[in-house]
């Protein structure tokens, strides 16, 4: 890289070719004010406050858009610069409302800060107020455009980073302002309320419309968002021990200056009045509040008593994708060492476990093979069985940036029209549930195009036969295969629609095979991205909170691996493999499993009625959670836990990025961090000394999880680490499987893919649960996040207008989805692009999903319970 030497305020400095004066100044610590500059956006030179003077020509240059040139002599604080800056600020203030005292931006307002620095008080110019009505009909963003300084940051963040296009300049001159299409209010525009514009707005023009708590914030703390598996870094601001605001953390983060509506506005649930405050026991049918001492004695005592009476295998443990690595590690240690049972599983069983298991088996890598930022270098992106816009918004932003600004070709396989289908080079409208067959057809076509040898199990299978009932035409697959083969920088993205449905593990295996065939593993811009994971699904599985694996994906049945763990633990862990959660429930129903410990999950909110029956047979149920749930109402002991802003630990995102979460407020009442609870129970069961801090737990994790050997808390302070990070000096490998050669793996079991959905004349519709931006999991959190709940109060069902007409339904009329096992009401919305006979159900921030409409059935291959699809009939009225 060529270096360019310039003089800045008389001091010689040097920077890289192509750098702007402003960038260099910030790098060497010279402060130049600016209202429109944001490092993750393209500079535009809108505000002119970053003017500097070039000594030779005496010209004033906007430093944010002027590249450095050799020999330049720049003054950042010359009299001419200071005077120009003063005038610009005064002109801005001349049409800025004098309402600072009631403005939510208050002391955070950058315009006010700069004016104060420049010593500007009252402005001498005639005021030219621009009166614009404040818009705040939605619970997220308040627009008070009279305060807009036209820096264009909201427009640029919306278009360049989030790629929604809800905003652009509207009109010109004095009338100019950021406007939506046709000047509609935000709630009727394309806006997704990600709030990224609010975070970058330098003035009070954009602010939070319903703050969770008002207060002047002194400092902010960096932590990690707890919703989806993207692992966004956030700044959290707290006042009087209450959350005031969440903002994106730009530096070194996956999300840059963006977040999504959940990350930005969804954490208010922590202050809900529903929080569990004290340990509780059920005694003779009555629930009583007890001390921690008593609750812990009861928990440890009863479980040990049952284990000694019926054997340790009569106890099961179910960990959480919301809990940290440290907590999940301790949880499985409590199970395998403290009690000696192999039956330990976690909430991944409801989401991404089949993806994790299949990728681990096929590739030896359970997480994304590439970091999410690599998506932006992809030339072709296949999205199948996923709704990234709803489930993993920040990943979808990267994906959209690749398509919109870097000309990547998008292949979108989805029955639903959305922002991605509109950007797609090819949109394949497949019937949901048949993604496996579509993948198989794609694989076959790619093998033909590449001229490689056809595996025996694909021989003689015609495209038409493979695509039977999928609604996809062979020509579409042929075209898709051509696009896929056009570049090896080919990213394959899948979500819950692929992995969570029956045969999910087999489908992911086919996807891996497709990746190998395309040669996109280990290649820049290639890779497999599993968008089916929550905040710490990856970490919970890495920690061995799985019946199949010990920490670090070492088979729990392997004597060598158990022996190695025994050297660290001083005792052999229980012999695996243990039972997956559905098996545990069935064992409970048969009376074989007698005690169950559930941490941070609400299985009754996600599973059909059978689960409640099974749990009711238990002798002893412990539920550790932050809220009362359907599951905790059946518990014999309820342990109140701390939320993600109230404890310390690490999360591992789906891209294998290990990041800290930090305590910023204290847990309410007697609630305690899960680590503390588990450590206390380990002391009581295994007579281990208590762990002082989560950092101590991490030290132990690094000794038994090879991928994380180099991870240290101190290192995580400075930067995120990617696993595998085996060396305490390296920051971990980002792109895995370099040099991965094509392998013929195990023959897939096609019967799992080709199985047909049985038609049922009494229940002619197939209802499919889609993803929603405003809801996650069983909704225990999103239903208590006031703003999410206010905005997304109704369950929606999308269906074809002809189906609407046949049932004589009007737009937005109430309907009931009735299955053999239950019913659910929803608001009907017509969607012309949706296939007939399909009901696409979008759950609300609160309320149940489709689990009440299905019977108890699970996939023996992955151990995942089928709850995302139901055969139903549609009835008018609620």
């Amino acid at each position: 890289m060529e270096t360019v030497a310039i003089t800045l305020d008389g001091v010689p400095v040097s920077g890289r070719q192509g750098m702007t004066i402003l960038e260099l100044a910030r790098e060497v610590g010279v402060r130049i004010p600016s209202l429109c500059h944001e490092p993750s956006l393209k500079p535009v030179g809108a505000c002119r406050l970053c003017l500097v003077e070039e000594e030779a020509s005496r010209r004033l240059l906007a430093s944010c858009v002027t590249p450095i040139a050799s020999g330049m002599r720049i003054q950042t604080r010359s009299p001419a610069v200071l005077e120009a800056r003063r005038v610009i600020l005064q002109l801005m203030l001349a049409n800025h409302p004098e309402s600072c005292i009631v403005c939510d931006k208050g002391n955070r307002c950058q315009l006010r800060q700069l004016a104060a620095e420049a010593g500007i008080g009252l402005v001498d110019y005639d005021r030219m107020d621009s009166f614009v009505h404040t818009q705040e009909a939605n619970p997220f963003i308040k627009r008070d455009l009279g305060k807009c300084v036209l820096c264009g940051k909201c427009i640029r963040v919306d278009q360049e980073l989030v790629v929604v296009g809800a905003l652009d300049y509207f009109h010109r001159g004095f009338q100019a302002r950021p406007g939506t299409f046709l000047d509609r209010p935000l709630e009727r525009s394309e806006c997704t309320f990600c709030g990224s514009c609010v975070a970058v707005c330098p003035t009070g023009a954009l602010s939070d419309s319903t703050p969770v708590h008002l207060g002047t914030v002194g400092e902010r703390t960096a932590t990690t968002c707890s919703y989806c598996g993207c692992g966004c870094s956030i700044w959290v601001q707290v006042c009087e021990d209450r959350l005031v605001r969440v903002e994106p953390k730009t530096e070194g983060s996956v999300n840059k200056a963006s977040l999504c509506v959940r990350g930005h506005y969804g954490s208010g649930y922590l202050h809900s009045r529903d929080r569990l405050l004290n340990p509780m026991l059920r005694r003779k049918g009555e629930t009583v509040t007890v001390s921690w001492q008593e609750a812990l004695e009861e928990t440890a005592g009863r479980i040990m008593e049952i284990a000694s009476r019926h054997g340790p295998a009569s106890v099961g443990f179910f960990g959480s994708t919301q809990c940290t690595n440290e907590e999940n590690y301790l949880f499985q240690k409590l199970a395998r060492l403290g009690i000696g049972t192999p039956h330990v599983d976690n909430g991944a069983r409801f989401q991404g476990v089949s993806g994790i298991l299949a990728m681990q088996e096929e590739l030896g890598v359970s997480g994304a093979t590439h970091p999410l930022e690599e998506l932006e270098y992809a030339k072709v992106i296949l999205v199948i069985g996923a709704q990234p816009l709803e489930s993993h918004p920040v990943a979808s932003y990267a994906l959209k940036r690749a398509v919109k600004y870097k000309a990547a070709k998008l292949l979108y396989v989805s029955p639903l029209e959305d922002g991605l289908s509109r950007m797609a080079q090819l949109w394949i409208k497949g019937w949901p549930g048949f993604e496996g067959r579509i993948l198989l057809a794609l694989l076959k076509e790619v093998i033909l195009l590449k001229g490689s040898s056809m595996p025996r199990w694909l021989e003689g299978k015609e495209l038409g036969e493979l695509l039977q009932s999928t609604l996809v035409q062979p020509e579409e697959v042929e075209e898709a295969a051509k696009i896929l083969c056009s570049s090896s920088s080919c990213a394959l993205v899948f979500g819950r629609g692929l992995s969570s449905a029956p045969g999910g593990k087999e489908r992911v295996r086919i996807l891996v095979r497709l990746a190998m065939e395309l040669g996109c593993l280990g290649v820049a811009g290639g890779g497999i991205y599993p968008l089916d994971r929550a905040a710490n699904t990856q970490g919970a599985c890495d920690m061995g909170t799985l019946p199949e694996f010990l920490p670090g994906y070492r088979p729990s049945a392997d004597p060598g691996c158990r022996e190695e763990l025994a050297q660290l633990w001083g005792k052999l862990p229980a012999m695996g493999p243990g039972m997956s959660f559905p098996r545990m429930l069935e064992a409970a129903a048969r009376g074989e499993l007698r005690a169950l410990y559930i941490m941070g999950e609400n299985p009754l909110g996600l599973l059909p009625g059978y689960a409640a029956e099974a749990l009711s047979k238990l002798e002893f149920l412990v539920v550790q959670d932050i809220f009362p749930t359907a599951t905790s109402s059946m518990a014999h002991v309820v342990l109140p836990a701390a939320g993600f802003l109230e404890k310390e630990g690490t999360y591992t995102s789906l891209e294998r990025r290990i990041q800290r979460i930090r305590p910023v407020c204290s847990p309410p009442g007697g609630a305690r961090p899960d680590c503390w609870i588990l450590s206390a129970l380990l002391k009581r069961t295994a007579e281990l000394p208590e762990y002082e801090t989560p950092a101590e737990v991490m030290k132990e994790i690094t000794q038994c999880v090879p991928q994380m050997r180099g991870v240290r808390y101190a290192r995580l302070e400075a930067e995120p680490l990617f696993w595998p990070c085996t060396d305490p000096s390296a920051s971990g490998e980002r792109i895995l499987l370099r040099g991965k050669t094509h392998e013929q793996g195990v023959e897939p079991d096609l019967s799992r893919l080709l199985g047909m959905e049985r038609e049922d004349p009494d229940f002619p519709f197939l209802a499919v649960e889609g993803e929603s931006l405003f809801r996650v999991g069983s909704a225990s959190r999103s239903s208590r996040a006031g703003r999410l709940r206010e905005f997304s109060g109704q369950r929606l069902v999308f269906l074809h207008p002809i189906d609407m007409g046949r049932l004589d339904l009007e737009e937005q009329s109430r309907v009931r989805l009735v299955s053999r096992w239950g019913e659910l009401s929803a608001t009907a919305i017509s969607k012309p692009e949706i296939p007939r006979g399909l009901l696409w159900v979008v759950p609300a921030a609160q309320g149940r999903g489709l689990e009440g409409l299905v019977s108890w059935s699970w996939d023996p291959d992955s151990g995942m319970v089928q709850t995302s699809q139901a055969r139903v009939r549609l009835v008018r009225g609620s």
Binding site: V164, G165, R172, G179
Partner: protein, 161 residues
């Protein structure tokens, strides 16, 4: 008298859009020429065209709207058959351009920037028409009227049906 613009009926010109889109190739750079053709064909840019135009060129609808609302040559509302432009440049100002505008507004019954309900006239102001030697100046469609005195305005406007 020549007509300033084409049909102002969007329903009538809806069929034209497909044709115009066919001709427009490329991305952002094709936007302004396309909008100019639409404006020429319809007399304005019908708001219902913005989304199809955006889709065709791979832009956000808000981006297209930003361009349309920035340039004064584009209008999102139907324009009158005759466009009256009164010069508000410096030369015209010192020679009484302000009165010319006032008289035009009174005679037409609309303010600057507005269009008459009968779609006969639209009244606009411009910063300079480049004919300062004729100040004060007014333009109707493509015809210049210079060295005006207020009483002339009405008789000029009357010529345009």
């Amino acid at each position: 008298m020549e007509k300033a613009s084409g049909s102002a009926n969007p329903a009538e010109s809806q069929g034209n859009l497909g044709e115009l889109l066919e001709e427009a190739k490329g991305g952002r750079e094709a936007l302004i020429p396309l909008l100019q053709r639409i404006q020429e064909r319809c007399g304005y840019v019908p708001p219902e065209y913005l989304e199809p135009v955006a889709k065709h060129l791979g832009l956000f609808p808000s981006e297209v709207q930003a361009v349309v609302s920035f340039y004064s040559q584009f209008s999102l509302t139907p324009k009158g058959r005759h466009i009256v432009r009164v010069c508000r440049g410096t030369a015209c100002h010192v020679r009484g351009g302000k009165s010319i505008l006032r008289v035009a507004e009174e005679n037409l019954g609309i303010k600057e920037g507005q269009t008459r309900e009968d779609l006969r006239y639209s009244l606009e102001t411009v910063a300079c028409l480049g004919t300062c030697f004729l100040a004060p100046v007014m333009m109707v469609n493509r015809n210049y009227y210079g060295k005006l005195v207020p009483p002339q305005v009405l008789s000029i406007l009357r010529q345009y049906e």
